[in-house]
Symmetry: C2
Subunit: 146 residues, 2 copies
């Protein structure tokens, strides 16, 4: 069923062989275990991935801050992992989480995906707010703007 | 609500300003519009993103093959986009799709995420098949193994 035994082992085997990119990261999609909504997309390095598996709470690697990051470390809005899955070529993981505090986004919204991309009358893509209500006020939670 | 007007505009504005990484890509998560299941994670360059918006069918950029790729071009299993959303910092998109043929994965499975990551008795992560039944035989659809 595969072009080589190496691919076969990655795609059809039971060995956990996460494939990190040149920056040492893989992509993680977090969805709400109850609503199935996509909450956020972030990255994990090897340490974040193994801490997530070991602790049952989501850890990420922040590309902008260049450091490991336990989701909710500032806000208290941790993500408890209900299930982790890995994709066919083992370069992305999907976690279904119980989102503490009800909001994953630092802007205070349930999901980071609070805007739809729509084509305007002249065909130029523009954005439209959807599900954009805030669950919390980021100024209160983070003690600073934004 | 933000640390600067630039961030505010990206996070709270209605202008579509996709932020590509150093390789010119952003991450795309595709979910099934009916079941909400995560089907796949892939990448889009500027051209793939704009073709997706213009045609209403998913286009990606294949990192392994180094080329633009219309999902379903070999298999016929195209993805019709029901809605596209973009995240707070505009470096990831989420598309809800009608998956033609019922399977997104090149292995013939509905989703690329057909294995769960589980901790074995000794704490070492291993994989377990879940939802691993094949919708199609890849050898028949692609005319080659795998």
């Amino acid at each position: 069923m595969s072009t080589s035994s190496a691919i076969d082992e990655i795609e059809e085997g039971l060995a956990f062989r996460p494939k990190f990119d040149a920056a040492g990261l893989l992509t993680c999609v977090a969805t709400d275990a109850t609503s199935s909504e996509v909450l956020m997309v972030a990255h994990m390095n090897d340490e974040a991935l193994h801490k997530t598996i070991a602790t049952g709470e989501a850890w990420y690697f922040s590309r902008s801050r260049g450091r490991l990051w336990r989701k909710g470390e500032s806000s208290g809005h941790v993500q408890r992992v209900v299930e982790m899955r890995i994709d066919c070529d083992q370069d992305a993981v999907w976690i279904r989480v119980d989102q503490q505090g009800g909001a994953a986004c630092h802007t205070g919204r349930r999901s980071c995906f609070y805007r739809a991309v729509v084509a305007s009358a002249d065909g130029v893509p523009t954005l439209a707010f959807v599900d954009a209500g805030r669950v919390f006020d980021p100024a209160l939670v983070y003690g600073k703007p934004g």
